[in-house]
């Protein structure tokens, strides 16, 4: 296989990786607000930041965010509906639409939903890829009625 040849001016391309687009590092506040010994709170970066954001999106109800009534995964709604009124596909569609509309950093790979009507529980696993790094992340969300 022939070796690539570069001019003298471009010779350093062989030793450095080519960055086609400016990479952006995602940095967000850790919403658990756990503080370090210095008193600062922790940061979430890259896939951890995105994962926190997706979880945040799914657990936000419609009309909860000021002046954005259609924002949110609205999963809590299903907890208070009759179990005959919806099925796994409804939950999946809801999650997919919310992520597509509000989280441009990820591409959804798979959504698994398990509805447990007897224990008033919905378990959701969302597998998505962080677009900028191609990292695949799995997020488990479980929502259950307290009583």
């Amino acid at each position: 296989m022939p070796a690539k040849a570069f001019s003298i001016e471009d010779g350093n391309l062989q030793t450095k990786s080519i960055v086609a687009a400016r990479q952006r590092q995602y940095t967000d506040i850790d919403l658990t607000f756990t503080n370090k010994v210095t008193g600062d709170i922790y940061k979430k970066t890259n896939s951890a930041a995105v994962k926190q954001a997706v979880k945040n999106l799914l657990l936000t109800n419609r009309t909860e965010k000021p002046f954005q009534p259609y924002y949110g995964g609205d999963l809590n709604r299903f907890l208070f509906s009759l179990s005959e009124d919806f099925d796994e596909d409804d939950v999946k569609d809801n999650i997919a639409a919310a992520i597509q509309n509000h989280e441009p950093r990820v591409r959804v790979r798979d959504i698994q939903v398990l509805i447990l009507p007897d224990s008033y529980d919905v378990k959701v696993t969302v597998i998505f890829q962080v677009i900028s790094t191609s990292e695949v992340v799995s997020l488990d969300v479980s929502i259950a009625r307290l009583r």
Partner: protein
């Protein structure tokens, strides 16, 4: 250094400013993703700032009379300026009341007690009306008793409302007691405040009067103020016991009676039935006889509390007048503040501005609401003189009432109409134009001091539809004159505008039809002359000189005019004004439209520019 700009009020801008701040530092980069935790925190911060900004804005708005929206704020600002907004007012009717007692031994006089009640049905609901004072009737010798007022009039006013009574026991003055009447439907003009020495006394120590009717206040004055409080109830305030009038002392009882009203719902009642008979002493024994009621004037004048818009308008004028009647605007402010449930508009002018000038007088013209009788109107005028001008106006200045003079406009409107640009017929678009003219007069004229401007109306007409291509309007001004038929009399009609100069082509002055020497005739000016003639409709001259008109003064004079009959109740005389573009009313003139003599003509115009003149 990065700073946060926070001068805006709306949520999105505030949040945008916060994002701008985060753009300037490198610690967190997820501020512009709506799903991020940082965005959620920015939401909270922006929402908090937004709400604080709004509250500050609302609070500031409520701090000024001009911008306040809440009634409680507007009323409070008005009271600071000495203006007490009008409460609900009761509907009032005028009736004649009489008894017929034929039994021998009847007493010479009969007293009808105050608060005698009558029932009246208005639109399926029964309302209670009552007298506010007692009336006495005297036997005419035949057993007929006609009740009369203290000044001898048989016209007795009955007032709608339910009589209510509240009693307050006065505590220690140091307690700063507040006397609140928890009722939003009070007609404060019916309020009667009596103070008793103790709770068990039956005769009042003093009857207090409203401060608005007080001319002079000193330590002995028995006056009270009544004002609307923020929840719509009313509060009674007494003097301070020293310079601002007497103050009830501890142990006194305050008895307040008033009418709780149904406001305008009880207007237009016409049949009043007494709820009880009247007891007449016959040979020492009380015998009940039915009261006979004759309605003189239907119930009217009931109205809701003064509106917020009205309070805002009247407060500033009333403040400027300082509870005195000196300028023309003072008269308007005081009269409207007290009688706006009967009077829709007022204009006043000094005798020096009158034609002819008469010094030492103030002329007032009142535009009453519809439905009042002449007696009711005269009663209001008497009240204005007795309650307002005698107390508040400058000494030696008499108040003279002058009835409004209606001046009518006859409009001939022609407009070009392209049927291709509309789905309306010619008749349909003509009706729309006529309706627009009526609307314009209702909204902009029919009140004192309102000027007719032709171009403004034509602009409104042009805006009705793109199919109206252009428009023009001929304007005539019309006055109406009562005519005594069968008697030769002189009549002068004073138009509020200059009249056009004589023309050789068209008549400047024209009247409606009347009968003269058994012929149907009209009055016209001679073409090219100021002389007026009586002509047949066909143009044959019957009287060559029946008077003249003067252009500059706008006067039409008829001399020895003696028709045998006229069409309608009044003779309508119309003139072409010197300036048709602007008709400006003088003093007590009110501009209205004569719809019967107003015409609208559409000229079909397909905008065909290829047509040539023949």
């Amino acid at each position: 250094m990065a700073t946060i700009q926070s001068s805006d009020l709306d949520f999105d801008t505030i949040k945008s400013r916060l994002k701008t701040y985060f753009q300037q530092q490198s610690e967190f980069s997820d501020y512009d993703f709506e799903t991020s935790g940082l965005s959620n925190i920015l939401d909270v911060l922006a929402y908090n700032t937004h709400m604080n900004g709004l509250i500050a804005n609302f609070a500031l708005n409520e701090s000024f009379l001009n911008t306040a929206q809440l009634r409680s704020s507007v009323v409070s600002h008005a009271e600071v300026l000495g203006y007490f907004p009008r409460s609900q007012t009761s509907s009032r009717a005028t009736v004649n009341l009489s008894l017929n007692v034929t039994d021998a031994g009847r007493s010479a006089t009969v007293t009808l007690p105050a608060y005698t009640t009558f029932s009246c049905d208005v639109d399926g609901t029964t309302y209670s009306f009552q007298t506010l004072e007692s009336y006495i009737a005297t036997d005419d010798g035949s057993g007929n008793y006609d009740f009369v007022t203290s000044v001898g009039s048989s016209n007795i006013e009955i007032v709608e409302g339910t009589l209510k009574e509240k009693n307050f026991l006065v505590g220690d003055v140091a307690d700063g007691q507040v006397y609140v009447i928890p009722d939003t439907t009070i007609d404060t003009s019916t309020l009667k405040v009596e103070v008793y020495t103790t709770a068990t006394d039956t005769e009042p120590l003093a009857t207090y009067t409203n401060i608005t009717r007080a001319v002079r206040i000193d330590s002995t004055s028995t006056i009270y103020q009544i004002k609307e409080v923020p929840n719509g109830y009313y509060e009674i305030i007494f003097g301070d016991g020293s310079v601002l009038g007497q103050q009830p002392v501890a142990g006194n009882k305050i008895k307040v009676t008033y009418l709780s009203t149904a406001a305008d719902a009880a207007n237009n009642g016409s049949v009043f039935s007494p709820d009880s008979d009247v007891t007449v002493t016959v040979s020492g024994v009380g015998v009940d006889y039915p009261l006979s009621v004759t309605t003189v004037a239907n119930s009217s004048g009931g109205d809701d509390k003064e509106s917020i818009a009205s309070i805002k308008n009247n407060t500033t004028i009333a403040f400027a007048s300082q509870q005195r009647m000196v300028t023309a605007e003072d008269y308007k402010a005081q009269i409207l503040a007290n009688y706006s449930s009967y009077i829709s508009d007022v204009i006043a002018w000094g005798g020096n501005e009158n034609e002819p000038p008469i010094y030492g007088r103030t002329y007032v013209s009142l535009k009453f609401i519809d439905g009042l009788t002449d007696d009711q109107k005269q009663n209001i005028k008497d009240q204005i003189v007795n309650n307002l001008t005698k107390n508040l106006a400058v000494m030696s200045i008499d108040t003279v009432f002058s009835d409004p003079t209606e001046v009518y406009l006859q409009l001939t409107t022609r407009f070009n109409f392209d049927p291709d640009l509309s789905n309306l017929t010619t008749r349909g678009i003509e009706n729309q134009v006529t309706n627009k003219i009526t609307e314009y007069f209702d909204a902009n004229l029919k009140r004192f001091d309102q000027v007719f401007r032709r171009s403004t109306l034509l602009t409104e007409i042009d805006k009705i539809s793109p199919a109206i291509l252009n428009s023009r309007m001929d304007v005539k001004v019309q006055l109406r004159q009562d005519i005594t038929v069968g008697t030769a009399l002189n009549y002068n009609l004073y138009f509020p505008v200059a009249i056009a100069a004589p023309s050789n082509d068209e008549y400047i002055v024209e009247s409606t039809r009347f009968t003269y020497n058994d012929q149907t005739a009209i009055i016209r000016n001679t073409l090219g002359s100021n002389t007026l003639q009586v002509q047949t409709v066909g143009g044959v001259t019957l009287v060559s000189n029946i008077g003249s008109y003067t252009e500059s003064t706008g006067t039409v004079s008829l001399v020895a005019f003696n028709p045998s009959a006229i069409v309608g109740t009044q003779l309508k005389v119309s003139v072409t004004p010197a300036n048709q573009s602007t008709i400006r009313p003088l003093r007590n003139y009110i501009i209205d439209i004569d719809a019967g003599l107003t015409t609208t003509i559409a000229q079909v115009d397909y905008q065909n520019t290829r047509t040539t003149l023949a």
